[in-house]
């Protein structure tokens, strides 16, 4: 499902020095597999997810997703591949505040192969327990409910791969556990592979397969959040 080889990314630090933040010689994820990556803040976890998602262009190396080489595609084709194959769950959810819950999910789908399928979006929201909040705006929801919208949006398109970046980072213990269970369950139901990054041991402890980011990333540089450009996770 996901194969990464010799993936590299560097940034220019504020002092003008070029810093290698990601160098992953090899990393793979099978279909439906769920893996958690453990890493400290600033270690480059988010950058790796951005590179896999094609949001950032790599300096070198390959990212293969479901047989397509993300790193060899033009930006427009990367956008299409991302819309078709990937679901992305952000730590801060990144919901569109001016749109209703249903519209957030519909918009997430509209760039993918299913198009703006409102019925399916509604079903997905019902699956995550938000069938009664379709016309609410994100600001009218609790943090846990917002996370569920983000999960529904990431999975509504039936992606092959879900990338989750500290998805429980903004939730309290109780809600974090619920959200994580939901993400894993829904990914299983949809047959989607899950790559989750976190520094929370309680989250990581729930995964059968987990790795230290430092194990797969040969770059040892750590950027301070304030000097990140762009985010190095």
């Amino acid at each position: 499902m996901l194969a990464v080889s010799e993936l590299k990314k560097s940034f220019v630090a504020p002092d003008g020095e070029r810093v290698d933040i990601v160098h992953v010689p090899s990393f793979t994820l099978g279909p439906g597999e769920q893996v958690a990556l453990r890493g400290e803040s600033g270690s480059g976890k988010t950058t790796l997810l951005h590179l896999i998602a094609g949001i950032l262009a790599a300096d070198g190396g390959r990212v293969m997703i479901d047989g397509a080489e993300m790193t060899a595609l033009s930006e427009a084709k990367r956008d299409r591949l991302r819309a078709e194959k990937l679901g992305y769950i952000f730590q801060t959810f990144n919901l569109l505040q001016g749109y209703t819950v249903l519209e957030n999910v519909v918009l997430g789908m509209s760039f993918g192969p299913r198009g703006a399928d409102r019925a399916h979006a509604r079903e997905t929201l019902e699956r995550v327990g938000l069938g009664h909040r379709l016309d609410h705006f994100p600001s009218q929801l609790s943090t846990g409910q917002q996370q569920r919208v983000a999960v529904a949006r990431a999975l509504a398109n039936r992606p092959k791969l879900v990338l989750a970046d500290e998805p429980t980072g903004n939730l309290d213990r109780k809600h974090a556990g619920e959200a994580l269970t939901l993400i894993r369950e829904v990914c299983r139901e949809h047959g989607a592979a899950l790559l989750l990054v976190s520094h929370d041991e309680l989250v990581l402890g729930q995964f059968e397969r987990r790795k230290d980011f430092a194990e797969i990333n040969q770059s040892s540089a750590v950027l301070q959040p304030a000097s990140k450009k762009p985010d190095a996770g």
């Binding site: 998602a53 949001i55 930006e75 299409r80 801060t92 519209e103 450009k229």
Partner: protein
């Protein structure tokens, strides 16, 4: 539905700036259309308003003043001409009809004009249209009682005149209560509306005006002007030669439409100034679309980056911003029609009150679709700059601070 949803939500999120920007476009669009329409329509209406006459004969002076005084009842008379001059032109073989006109008095600001009943009996004020008297009234008598009055529809309505009412005229063209004449006139009829300057006049028999108390007895047979219908258009040039080039006592204003057109060409600079102002307003409106969307781009960067992260292409984002600017332009253009009709109705009403000339507010000129379309195109163009900014939004960098 993606694009309409993005545009709709964006317009809703920035409702205040959307309304203000669309309002300024509506104002610009409405002003442009109105200026153009008033210019075109008034020129057409004034040059075509001849009330059925080809030429005007009057005292030596300005042709324009003669036409404005005798046809539009606006200016003061340049002077009088003798009854014999009227008789002579009336007998000229090239003249089909000649109607004398005497002015110099008013009824509470509305002009009193003396003439013969033939004006209302025989003349067509527009092709196929003859004067008609409203029910219960009649045209004043040719012979006998000279103290009768026939009110033009607009003057009668504004003065509240009805058949059987009596009044005392006031001397001069401007109303001054101190200059009241002793003579009493009785309203015998009200004309049906003609949408010409005739509507703004209270008509009395020529003799009634000539012999009004207080008027100079020596000028009792003089007239202010003679309205002339010609047998053939070429006859006008013959009379022009006779009165204007060979003679030096009288002036023939011919053709009436061309003289008014000359007036419009003299004041064309005013149209140009108005048009320039309207163009500038249009440019400012398009600029405000650009500024309004551009300024909101900082607030929207995150939304745009999220959309990109969800798989939206750069060109989708670019298209959404341009389409939003286009929509604001379209909203403004539609509202511009309301501004246009409001302004035009007001201007047309003022022109009608002041001159009796009626503008066709329902006329469909090309400007009514060219202007809104051009405005929308200008707004779309204004959207390109913020769209480029949106197009270049770096996704990872924009999402970074919170992710």
């Amino acid at each position: 539905m993606t694009l309409p949803l993005i545009i709709y939500r964006s317009l809703r999120q920035h409702a205040l700036s959307t309304v203000i920007t669309a309002g300024s476009i509506a104002l610009a669009c409405g002003l442009l259309m109105c200026v153009w329409m008033v210019k075109t329509q008034s020129q057409t209406a004034f040059t075509q308003t001849t009330t059925g006459f080809d030429a005007v004969l009057g005292a030596r002076g300005s042709k324009l003043q003669l036409v404005l005084n005798a046809i539009f009842h606006l200016e003061a008379s340049p002077g009088n001409l003798a009854w014999a001059d009227y008789e002579m032109v009336k007998r000229h073989p090239a003249v089909k009809a000649a109607i004398p006109l005497a002015v110099g008095d008013n009824l509470r600001g509305y002009r009193l004009a003396g003439t013969l009943p033939e004006l209302f009996e025989k003349v067509e004020y527009a092709p196929g249209k003859k004067f008609a008297v409203q029910a219960g009234g009649r045209i004043f008598a040719k012979e006998g009682e000279a103290k009768e009055a026939l009110a033009g529809s607009f003057a009668g309505q504004r003065l509240g005149l009805k058949v059987g009412d009596t009044f005392h005229p006031f001397h001069g063209l401007a109303f001054d209560a101190k200059n009241e004449h002793a003579d009493t006139y009785t309203v015998v009829g009200l004309l049906a509306p003609t949408n010409t300057p005739v509507d703004r006049v209270v008509w009395i028999p020529l003799r009634g005006l000539q012999t009004m108390s207080g008027h100079d007895a020596k000028a009792a047979t003089d007239v202010s002007a003679v309205l002339i219908q010609l047998r053939t258009p070429s006859a006008g040039f013959m009379l022009d030669l006779m009165y204007n080039k060979q003679g030096n006592r009288l002036t023939l204003a011919y053709p009436v439409g061309a003289i008014i057109a000359e007036l419009f060409s003299k004041i064309s600079w005013f149209d140009q100034v108005l048009a320039l102002v309207a163009y500038l307003v249009a440019l400012v409106a398009a600029g405000s679309v650009l500024a309004s969307i551009y300024n909101s781009m900082s607030a929207r960067r995150r939304d745009l980056a999220i959309l990109r992260a969800l798989g939206a292409r750069r060109r989708t984002i670019f298209g959404a911003v341009v389409a939003e600017a286009t929509c604001i332009g379209a909203l403004g253009a539609v509202a511009g029609y309301a501004v246009y009709f409001g302004l035009l109705s007001g201007v047309a009403s003022v022109i009608r009150t002041q001159t009796g000339v009626v503008l066709d507010v329902t006329a469909r000129l090309p400007v009514l679709w060219i202007c809104p379309l051009a405005m929308i195109a200008l707004c779309a163009l204004g959207g390109v700059v913020p769209a480029l900014k949106a197009y270049r939004t770096p996704v990872a960098e924009t999402l970074a601070p919170l992710s």
